[in-house]
């Protein structure tokens, strides 16, 4: 006897599949396709094979900006890796210690900035760091460091790092929570056995707890990578589409926006924007690929 066609499966799947396919998967593929076209002055599009990529990567008018954005994006990512994630690990480790009074309250407070819009975050920090209002200068004065105050957001050498730190300030709650969840999932018996053996808390942390949460640290790394190489909102809301001063805070997201929509006298081009998006896609894909083939495969997930 032939089974009846499983209509119910179709009904359950279709809405999600359709919306996701039409507004996410298809646009992504179509963007990869559009990257191979160029737009003429009349607005018609022609297939041009690698012309966009040649321009972005080798024509000095464009490549300088592209490589600058790429370099800045790498720095942006490194600041998150060197400060945000270790800080998240530290906070999570402290929160997960036994008998910390008020741990729940700390969690709530520390996670709060993550929920706010970057537009608000950007503006708050802009105010605090502005020489005009002088809150930062006054605060530095309390600890006798007022003469070290500088308009960090306005200087070419410091603006990118200042913005990176603002982003770290906002998003540190995410690695903190993920690591915290992994730490408290470690069964007590393992830790207790080590305590009985006479291991110090410091040693237990580095030789038992950290190795056990390596998969989570890997996940945090890849989430940071994808998030950073796709960032846009903070730079745009603090520095505008031109990512000043003189492009020192330009990252791939803002570069993509300008290629797509244009700025000042430069006209935007959908096909050139698509090419930039494709390059961003390749960067993210490379990161995710490295993660899956080299990191996740080697790290076994511990199930308790």
């Amino acid at each position: 006897m032939k089974k009846p066609f499983p209509w119910h499966i179709l009904v359950f799947l279709t809405p999600a599949f359709l919306i996701y396919a039409v507004f996410s998967a298809f646009p992504l593929l179509d963007t990869l396709r559009l990257g191979f076209y160029t737009t003429s002055e009349t607005g018609s599009q022609h297939f041009a094979w690698l012309a966009n990529y040649r321009m972005l990567l080798f024509d000095p008018n464009w490549s300088e900006g592209f490589w600058n954005a790429m370099g800045n994006n790498v720095k942006f990512f490194l600041v998150h890796m060197l400060i945000q994630n270790p800080l998240g690990l530290l906070l999570a480790a402290l929160l997960s210690m036994r008998g910390v009074r008020g741990a729940k309250a700390y969690q709530t407070l520390l996670f709060l900035p993550t929920l706010l819009s970057v537009v608000i975050i950007g503006f708050i920090w802009q105010l605090i760091l502005s020489p005009l209002w002088g809150v930062a200068e006054t605060l530095l004065g309390y600890v006798g460091l007022a003469e070290h105050f500088q308009p960090w957001l306005g200087q070419e050498e410091t603006a990118l790092y200042t913005l990176s730190l603002m982003s770290v300030w906002q998003f540190v709650g995410i690695p903190m929570m993920l690591i915290y969840a992994a730490l408290i999932a470690i069964p007590d018996e393992i830790i207790e056995a080590a305590v009985v053996e006479g291991a110090s808390a410091w040693r237990i942390f580095w030789t038992i707890r950290v190795p056990l949460i390596l998969p989570t640290l890997g996940l945090v790394t890849i989430l940071t990578f994808v998030g950073n190489f796709n960032a846009f909102d903070l730079i745009y809301s603090v520095k505008g589409a031109l990512a000043g001063p003189s492009y020192s805070t330009d990252i791939l997201g803002t570069y993509f926006y300008r290629a797509f929509f244009g700025y000042q006298s430069q006209l935007g081009s959908a096909t050139l924007g698509a090419a930039v998006a494709t390059l961003m896609f390749l960067v993210i894909l490379a990161g995710v690929g490295v993660y899956f083939f080299f990191v996740q495969r080697k790290l076994q997930r511990f199930s308790f």
Partner: protein, 279 residues
Amino acid sequence: MQHKVTRFAGSTFTHVILAGYSILALFPIVLIAINAFKDRASIFDSPLSLPNAESWSLIGFEKAMKNAHFFSFFGNSMIVTVTSLFFILLFGAMAAWALSEYRFRGNRWLMAFFAFGIMVPIRLGTVSILKIMVSLELVNTLTALILVYIAQGLPLAIMILSEFMQQIPKELKEAARCDGVGEFKIFFQVILPLIRPAVATVAVFTMVPIWNDLWFPLILAPGEETQTITLGVQQFIGQYATDWNAVLASLSLAVLPVLVLYMFFSRQLIRGITAGAVK
């Protein structure tokens, strides 16, 4: 004795760091809030002090409220967020159920198709999304935003929910099937109520990025009628940069919904993460 001293020192150290960082996390938000309630002179003269009888002023809020669009921004954000969320949860749960419950050809392929969307940001498809919206005549409508956000939220929702659904005991479903209950009834009347805690977790994770998004409102719906609060505040800041009272007050108002939401959901959120909903 020495042991006790080390433990005391250890816990002091813990609290100094945690409390210190909590102050750092809260300081900017508090700073905005206290200055929103001051008159202009006090904002500049003593930004760090609390408002007192002399400096207390609500002029900023009055100005922000007088801006005709402020409430419409709020309304737009509400409509977009709530509608997207409803469909992400409904369609996401339905798809998660189909993928985790039934064995059929292409099951794993479909799983991978959806999983792809977790890692690759939908933003990279913006050029084509705009093209599609232009051809559907949806530019400058809230519908455009809602459709994109549903597509953006589905992958994570499907992954988390299917993980939860796999933990539902088999006997429950088999018993219902033996009684001749249809598949749709099983899903809507047995399964959906069971996964309510997971749904709440997914809701928070999905809601925050939608509420805070700047990119798609800027590109798909920048018109005055369709601006969301995030885009509205961003432009409001630019427009009224010198009117500090109004800017600080409108910032405080824009933070408010998220704060309320967080108060409401924070326990659920933290429980959801620590229960391993996101792995």
